[in-house]
Symmetry: C2
């Protein structure tokens, strides 16, 4: 299968129902991608991800580059084969991870010099190198290298990063056009990433320049880096407006479950976020009535499932009391079951959002969601 | 279903093929019981245990008593319901765990005073209390409280512990007969435990006294506490010889996979051991050619499964290279997959042993196993 994207329906709210095809299958959009940082979604088997109908997951170039190394993965036949994952994989370029290293990095026009968080060894990531690594990994969708910065940031700093991001995208594009395709996955494509902080004119300028480079899809980067949700949503909407209708739009690193629909209404087709998996390991579970901290004493003797209206494997079988015990005893099964539930919750939310778009009622869906959340926290 | 045990066939080697019925199902014997210390087999979901056809698992009275507490579990409807486990559960009495606390305990004729390994709180475990806790848990098979000691130990010390073990078994029996059955599991039974260290005459005396008390099954305790395998096997055989033919015999805490058949040839019907699960978490994996340390550099680029002749879910899908990466990256999935493989290996070994008994060839099976292990380590 070749990379292909199709918008099937556009909602009055701006939301799009679509279908994304990669060399590893078809996914319905808007889609949520679970994060599998180091070639595994923490706490999940690949079998369990398949049971949850995960069609596309995200993995991290930065982490895989450092360990076990992209060359090793290439020798093992690429990331799909290495981790035995039949579905799609999107790899980020490492830009965000390097950004989050803070004191361990130094950015220049040439690239980013950084120290490994694992052993302190020094590395130099350039746009060309980011493409090379991702080709070795053989993901279905790779990302160009961008300079992701904090938000808020001064206009000057934001502009500098935006200009650099465009220049790096140009160099990535040249590397993509010049080099040999991924051996493991010749149908791999690369998305551009729009930066520009919270400045709508910079976002516009950045988007227009990237669109000139003609990528098969565009990410809206530099969100979920500290700004309020309102700002994030406005920026996502303003940026999406400057991106071509026929290409998938991906907001990186978002969001809380009740905010997913907000991004979808901005015309966003793809999202990824560590919240469901990371929160799960911290005992923070999602329910249709709001979050539940499994470590709270009140759940230690609660024989009900996490969410009585949830159809997941965990809620069908295990009680809050048992999950509470597993969490306190720091048992692996706690992480496994919590993660399964939270991912199911996110994916089910996305399924409901797609259904609402299909039925033409995403705005109503959002109002109902809001009302339900305001009505009650889980007891 | 009521507790019931039936010997279907006895092998010339002394091995028995049998069928054990508890209120939670029927298991073929000889049976291996995975260890689920704190109400969970570390790294396994209950669904995965069912997939592996686990019919009986072991859980620890000591751990559950301390956390989350037996009374809480009783209020939640017993251990089966608490952990959502439909199969059988055997609970040990806490004797072995208290033994392993070493400096944190003080044994008297009355019982054992010990400090919690979790918070240092002081507790007093008596034979009567051990029965009370296990009734609250509602396991299918409980164990009487015994005094487990190190091996080798002086004859004097061993005799003292043996006498105390018989006296405690008597008190347990009185408590069982006098008290109310488990509310969660009225069909619960309790096994006696034979002690006597490495002294065959003490073992015999101990066994005879316990048999007088008429338990529905007998454990051979005090093995796997430091003695060589040869000694362990001799003691198991010598002790089993003094136990009734029509009752199940359970050797506690054994063994390495290649030694399972040795115990079976002693006429043993049940075993439990932490090795497959604990070793898995340390990256020590079993294969038909001997153990494999997944952290060895040689496996980092090895695309073969852990054991090419293994039919488990892990070997059908994942490579040594991937498991090596997961182990190095300390990923939860590493523990999950390693545990699954090792448990499959043990359970499959037991299945092969039962098959060999059914076909009348356990001695031949043992010779072949030995030859295969001597022939080669995995590359």
């Amino acid at each position: 299968m070749e990379f292909h994207f199709e918008v099937l329906k556009t909602d009055p709210s701006g939301a799009r129902l679509g279908r994304l095809t990669t060399p590893h299958g078809v996914v319905d959009t808007p889609a949520f991608m679970p994060v599998g940082t180091a070639g595994t979604v923490k706490g999940m088997t690949q079998e369990a991800l398949e049971d949850l109908n995960v069609g596309l997951l995200l993995s991290n170039t930065y982490h895989l580059y450092l360990r076990p190394g992209h060359e090793l993965i290439a020798r093992m036949g690429g990331l799909h084969r290495f981790m035995s994952w039949r579905g799609g994989i999107l790899t980020d370029s490492g830009g965000f991870q390097v950004f989050s290293l803070a004191d361990l990095r130094k950015v220049s026009d040439e690239g980013v010099r950084f120290r490994s968080h694992l052993d302190g060894s020094e590395h130099f990531l350039t746009p060309e190198k980011a493409i090379e690594i991702q080709r070795a990994l053989g993901s279905d969708i790779g990302m160009v290298l961008d300079e992701c910065i904090e938000c808020p940031a001064s206009r000057e700093r934001t502009q500098e990063a935006s200009v650099r991001t465009v220049e790096w995208a140009r160099r990535c594009k040249a590397a993509i056009d010049a080099g040999r395709p991924s051996e493991a996955n010749p149908g791999q494509v690369f998305f551009g990433i729009v930066q520009g902080g919270a400045y709508q004119d910079l976002r516009r300028e950045n988007a227009e320049k990237l669109v000139e480079l003609d990528f098969p899809g565009y990410a809206i980067g530099g969100l979920a880096v500290g700004e309020p949700h309102e700002v994030s949503r406005e920026i996502a909407a303003a940026t999406a407006a400057h991106l071509p209708q026929d290409r998938p739009r991906y907001v990186m690193g978002v969001s809380k479950p009740e905010q997913l629909a907000d991004y979808v209404r901005c015309g966003v087709d793809m999202m990824d976020c560590v919240l469901p998996t990371r929160n799960a390991r911290n005992g923070y579970l999602y329910t249709r009535q709001g979050p539940l901290h499994i470590k709270n004493a009140t759940y230690a003797q609660d024989s009900r499932p996490v969410d009585e209206s949830c159809g997941c494997m965990v809620c069908r079988r295990y009680s809050r009391a048992y999950l509470s015990h597993l969490f306190r005893a720091n048992e692996i099964l706690g992480a496994i079951l919590n993660t399964h539930h939270n991912l199911y919750f996110y994916l089910d939310m996305m399924r409901a959002i797609r259904e609402a778009i299909a039925l033409g009622g995403l705005s109503q869906f959002c109002s109902e969601l809001q009302a339900r959340l305001e009505a009650g926290r889980p007891e």
